[in-house]
Symmetry: C2
Subunit: 339 residues, 2 copies
């Protein structure tokens, strides 16, 4: 699964800005980026062996999305393992950056191992884990009110934070009893990830906590749709829908951890402080998270066509921050270019 996004422009988070205008965009946080380089303003080119051989000597880091680039659910993309093995042989540092908010870092490590990828824990940048780190960095000591899965709960508790368990809210199914809901007095942060049991009672609880001025408001990511190849035509909504509801009712904006938020690059730089715009390639399948994130940080970007978007989508895109430097059919093409 690769998750797609429709969201809301990030700006300063005071109420004055909240009261200002608004339209839905396809991904939060794409607008107002000042770091877009010439790369993304040029027309995207198909990656060739020649272009790759010119790019490779400049690179020190290759960062990549996971779902839709390395695998689809439990099926590995052919050649993905070989490509990263080869990149490591060339002395490049690699990192895997995912917005999947249903996975913990431990769960993701397991998945990489099951799929026989070489991996070390520090190479994984996963939003649930980074959300917990972010709360630690903000010295949150009180209870966390969480909308999410067991994976998010595990990461929060692993970081020494106390939170509610996932699952239905006690007030679910008793809709008119919300005014009688018991609230925790020591909640210091509302944290959103994907929640299978999202409900109006949960929106009510989150908004009530967020009415406390010092309560932190964090979303692991803001992707609004899950990319899943299915013949049923069913559209799977994602965390961005939960976030939109709670931001609307609370009248507050959340800090977003995942791509394309700048919070993500701050978290990556803790591990890889030498990352610069001229020595890093970002690979992804989704224009509004992966390519936007890469462009925002001035990285060379590569769109692979094994997931959400293909070269055909580029003709519809006007925003230069959504245009990759290069596109290619699959991550496996890089391995082929290195033969």
């Amino acid at each position: 699964m690769t998750v797609s996004g429709v969201g809301v422009k990030r700006g300063s988070c005071n109420m004055a800005s909240l009261r200002k205008a608004t339209v839905i965009s396809v991904q939060r946080g794409l607008h107002g980026s000042k770091n877009t380089t010439e790369h993304s303003r040029q027309q995207p080119k198909e990656l060739t062996k020649k272009l790759w051989s010119e790019l490779l000597p400049r690179l020190e880091y290759v960062l990549s999305d996971c779902d839709g680039v390395l695998w689809h659910s439990n099926l590995v993309v052919s050649g993905a393992r070989d490509t990263f093995r080869k990149l490591r042989e060339y002395g490049l540092k690699v990192g895997f950056v995912t917005n999947n908010s249903t996975k913990s870092k431990a769960g993701l490590l397991d998945k990489f191992k099951q799929m026989n990828f070489q991996i070390t824990p520090r190479e994984i940048f996963c939003v649930n884990n980074l959300t917990a780190s972010y709360l630690q960095s903000r010295k949150v000591k009180g209870r966390v009110y969480m909308l999410g899965t067991e994976a998010l709960q595990n990461e929060l508790e692993g970081a020494g934070l106390r939170c509610n368990p996932p699952g239905p809210d006690l007030a679910d199914g008793h809709p008119q009893s919300w005014l009688d809901m018991k609230m925790d007095t020591d909640v210091e942060a509302v944290v959103l990830g994907f929640d299978y049991h999202f409900s109006m009672a949960k929106v009510c609880r989150a908004c009530t906590y967020l009415a406390r001025p010092n309560c932190h408001f964090i979303a692991s990511e803001a992707d609004v749709r899950v990319f899943e190849k299915n013949s049923s035509g069913i559209v799977l909504p994602s965390t961005g829908a939960i976030l939109a509801a709670i931001e609307a009712a609370a009248g507050r904006r959340a800090v977003i951890i995942g791509k394309p938020s700048t919070t993500m690059i701050e978290m990556i730089r803790r591990e890889y402080p030498e990352i610069r715009s001229d020595n890093t390639l970002f690979i992804g399948d989704y224009l509004h998270t992966d390519i936007a994130f890469g462009a925002k940080n001035g990285f060379t970007t590569l769109l692979v066509e094994t997931g959400m978007h293909s070269r055909h989508d580029l003709t519809q895109v006007k925003d230069s921050s959504l245009k990759p430097t290069f596109y290619t059919k699959s991550i496996a093409d890089i391995f082929a270019f290195m033969q």
Copy 2:
């Protein structure tokens, strides 16, 4: 209850505009209004007997919000009945315009009768009823996928439309089975009102229907919070939260029926075609729905302080379309001025 709003700017509804920037505003549809008159750009004045006596001869219509102006839940605002009786004695036409999406027109008529207001059905403009009328005007014949209450269901079925019943979705509680959900093939409109049983399964279903290009997308209103005096400090989210989630995941904007949308004035004009900016007063307790709606249509506006907002809130407001012409403590003051 009077409902408050944080929402999203309305604009042209094509995908290009959806992909543009966004911030949350306190009420959808406030921005880009071209009909704001000088009234609302002047500083609001406290209504006095003298000002009222100058205004009254110009008026032919008095339109009023209900919750927070006429009553709070089951308690009538003292003097409200007398005021409207007196206005009728002066030969004025009156209308009651409410965004409450948990009430049908019949239910609202009952409430007026229980509270001993003189009322005729054509004087009531209620969003569930107008939503059904709107769908009729758009010649919708297929099934409606509804998020709402029995009140909305009754209005839709009363207009000859077929829809699902309110209540939990069959997939609720089976979160990972969404890909197996059965979809109706003949759904022609997704209609949102307040839904006590809002869930991720419902977002999924709505988005899947909305992926059909010809599927209508209507929200009865976009208020994001319910105003309810309660000592528990619990914040009650409203329909705008549901709408924000589904718009985000669907990547589409809904047509909004309720205040301050221009759809509402179109519906009112069917009953009162002689309404003009210079002969109409709009009374309400909520700046972002009532006053914005009045200002958008060039009406004289009166903020009463028995509900959501008071004169103190006006000092925080910079947007001229949120400033009433006048403010006063209660609707009862008008009755006093007419003695």
